[in-house]
């Protein structure tokens, strides 16, 4: 960005600066949204994607049959689709009254894209779960149990009054350490949730 940006538009720059923190996580979701929404928008109707389906029940000595054909919606009726016509000319109208024709369309690209995206998300989650459950405890130095279990019930406010507050200026410097910190925080949150739901049955029972 050009260096004069902050002088020319001070309010805009502060607004965008504050926005990046929230926008980063929203970018991921919006990208996913675009990925999913754009294929249906761009999909041209291939010949596989439209059909007119006519179902004709048994009539006299003719058995029932299903006819499929690639026609447009205005041509989707018995006369255009049922070929070859199993009844002679004067019976065609009676036969066609019994048949029911429906126009259907689908988007094969949408189906393919969505199923493949879904499977890749499930695969990624499976890998991450395997990593967290199997690999992570091995590569991390086993931390001493920092607080015995009964301390969890202790008054958290008393701890916060007495504890030395971390100076907010001394942030972890490298990106890796900050990712580590965020991941540790997330793991702690999930552990807390797990305790609430699965162990103490305080919620969602």
């Amino acid at each position: 960005l050009c260096p004069g940006w902050e002088f020319l538009f001070p309010q805009a720059s502060t607004m965008f600066a504050r926005c990046t923190r929230k926008c980063a996580s929203s970018v991921l979701l919006l990208v996913l949204l675009c990925c999913v929404l754009s294929p249906p928008a761009q999909a041209r109707k291939s010949s596989e994607d439209i059909r007119c389906k006519c179902i004709c029940p048994p009539y006299r000595n003719i058995s029932g049959h299903i006819y499929n054909k690639n026609v447009s919606q205005k041509d989707c009726n018995c006369l255009h689709v049922v070929e070859p016509m199993p009844v002679p000319g004067n019976d065609v109208e009676a036969y066609c009254l019994l048949c029911e024709c429906k126009y259907e369309e689908r988007s094969t690209t949408t189906i393919k894209v969505i199923i493949i995206i879904y499977l890749s998300v499930v695969g990624a989650l499976l890998l991450y779960m395997a990593f967290l459950v199997l690999v992570d405890p091995l590569i991390r130095k086993p931390d001493a149990y920092t607080q015995p279990l009964h301390n969890e019930e202790e008054n958290e406010d008393a701890r916060s009054l007495a504890a030395v507050p971390t100076p907010s200026g001394a942030r972890a410097n490298t990106v890796l350490e900050r990712v580590e910190g965020a991941q540790q925080r997330w793991k702690r949150q999930v552990q807390e949730q797990r305790k609430t739901v699965f162990d103490r049955h305080k919620m969602l029972s």
């Binding site: 926008c23 596989e48 259907e104 369309e105 989650l125 008393a158 009054l161 925080r185 029972s205």
Partner: protein
Amino acid sequence: MVNAGDMNGSGNLMDFLDEPFPDVGTYEDFHTIDWLREKSRDTDHHRKITSKSKESIWEFIKSLLDAWSGWVVMLLIGLLAGTLAGVIDLAVDWMTDLKEGVCLSAFWYSHEQCCWTSNETTFDDRDKCPQWQKWSELLVSQSEGASAYILNYFLYIMWALCFAFLAVSLVRVFAPYACGSGIPEIKTILSGFIIRGYLGKWTLLIKTVTLVLVVSSGLSLGKEGPLVHVACCCGNFFSSLFSKYSKNEGKRREVLSAAAAAGVSVAFGAPIGGVLFSLEEVSYYFPLKTLWRSFFAALVAAFTLRSINPFGNSRLVLFYVEYHTPWYMAELFPFILLGVFGGLWGTLFIRCNIAWCRRRKTTRLGKYPVLEVIVITAITAIIAYPNPYTRRSTSELISELFNDCGALESSQLCDYINDPNMTRPVDDIPDRPAGPGVYTAMWQLALALVFKIVITIFTFGMKIPSGLFIPSMAVGAMAGRMVGIGVEQLAYHHHDWIIFRNWCRPGADCVTPGLYAMVGAAACLGGVTRMTVSLVVIMFELTGGLEYIVPLMAAAVTSKWVADAFGKEGIYEAHIHLNGYPFLDVKDEFTHRTLATDVMRPRRGEAPLSVLTQDSMTVEDVETLIKETDYNGFPVVVSKDSERLIGFAQRRELILAIKNARQRQDGVVSNSIVYFTEDPPELPPNSPHPLKLRRILNLSPFTVTDHTPMETVVDIFRKLGLRQCLVTRSGRLLGIITKKDVLRHMAQMANQDPESIMFN
């Protein structure tokens, strides 16, 4: 009050990785918000924006953006909710069929999609085509016979177990809050409770992914309740992008109400029904502005889902029906019978399910959630496979039961004896005698009905996303269809009886069993959830016609009356009571004649009220008081002798203010006097610097006198969303009533266990 996030100037991209700094004005987890304060903060925000908008063009544009941000949020919620619902529908369609076979030409096609272009489908075997093969055909090249059946059976069970195990593992490892239906917790959140992480991004992702897995595994559950949770997560996510909603918990809940409407809208393809459901069942406060915005969000969501077109026919729900045959007044009698059945089933289900969930909560059963899911899935798969009506997915079952039998249906349910010379067009088939296929279908349906009634009791409430709408509708549809076929055959064989003579002539199409199935579904759903208007609107949006409103209403009203005769709570209120959430229901009526003195704390014999004084306590005294007690707030009085009330101070804000003061202000030590007045008190010389805490004091706490009837107090708590209320007599502070005390008192009056109210 310096926000540490701004200390380094403009933050960079990685700032979102750092821990958020708690500041004054946010709430702690598992606490209730202060609705009045949120409302006044919103008014301040609005006033500031309006006054600044006159200053410059940029400020004016900012004020316009602020005004439109509500609509932008609704648009985004609708888009994302519709997209996720489309993804869920398509993935469920595919994975359900994966249990039985696979498409060889392209593995991502479900059974119907695979056979779409095939020319080899015949009238009798319209499901078969060579591209889609069952597992037995693929593995041992046999499609009929005992070994093929056993192999298919075994693989069906294996796939179901695999999906269910994967789902419960994902929930346990990544997002434990993603289990259950979500609607009881969302009701509590919308009433002002804070549950951090319940509407987070991981919960959204895991709930979407595992919902597909559990619905595909064949368990007896639905996706409508979890879709409401998913939509509310989307609402929470988008509202955090705009400061108008992210900083104000009251405004955020308006967005969540609208998101819940969008969730129901995509679940049923019923935008109006979704808005009414949000109004009736989910929301606590529903201002009129939210009504229009909810409708917009619901419409955008429905439109997005329609453009994804998951079912290939531009319909939003698998079981949309399109017939318009008339019904007759004499049929109201079986409809009301179906309503009674729905009410009785609702009561039975609620009682049994709550008993089972309580057992899961208190005994050793709750220690094995993964094993429980696997066992229930195995039982469901083993019993469901032999019966063709339970083998397929519940939505398909409901769709078949709702559909009327034309001449073109080839299912067993439509195996009527046809007149071979008949040449009537397809939609005017007269009543016919039932063939052998119909009798087989009837007893299979009866077995399926009993199975579904029993297994849903054990399935709802497990540690996986589970909804209740589809199983209830399935139970009602099966019962309704059986009653409908019974009435139809009765009318055909005895059309000279007095009850049929007037309206059913031989050769006419009098009875539509599909309509009975619909009415049964509405009755059962109403009996369980106690929905009224929203149920009828959802059902008539599903059927696309206003002809059937009277039967639906008759059944819904009957089922609600019958169910209310046994117990006042619907399933969601019952789960709220089971979990002990602090939810003050607007539907409960308080009719006892107790007074405020009977409920206030401290009672006679208890320790006196912990108060702060205006200017005679030191910092150390305040800290000791906070450490020794666990109250959420303290009243501030003039002095210990004259207990005249000045205001109310919250515990969290006291802690934060004292912590900040110790760090930043010079001279504040443990002996400093804490004062809440405008000017510091008279202090002897050489005393340490006093600490002014007036800005955290709420100068207008709500007070009632000791003789106020509890009816009025409960009303005040409900209408204003209070957390606590102070009790005075002749201007002197007597005690305090908190929301928890009110809930306990109501539980005690209703002879329930008052100790079950757990949260603060």
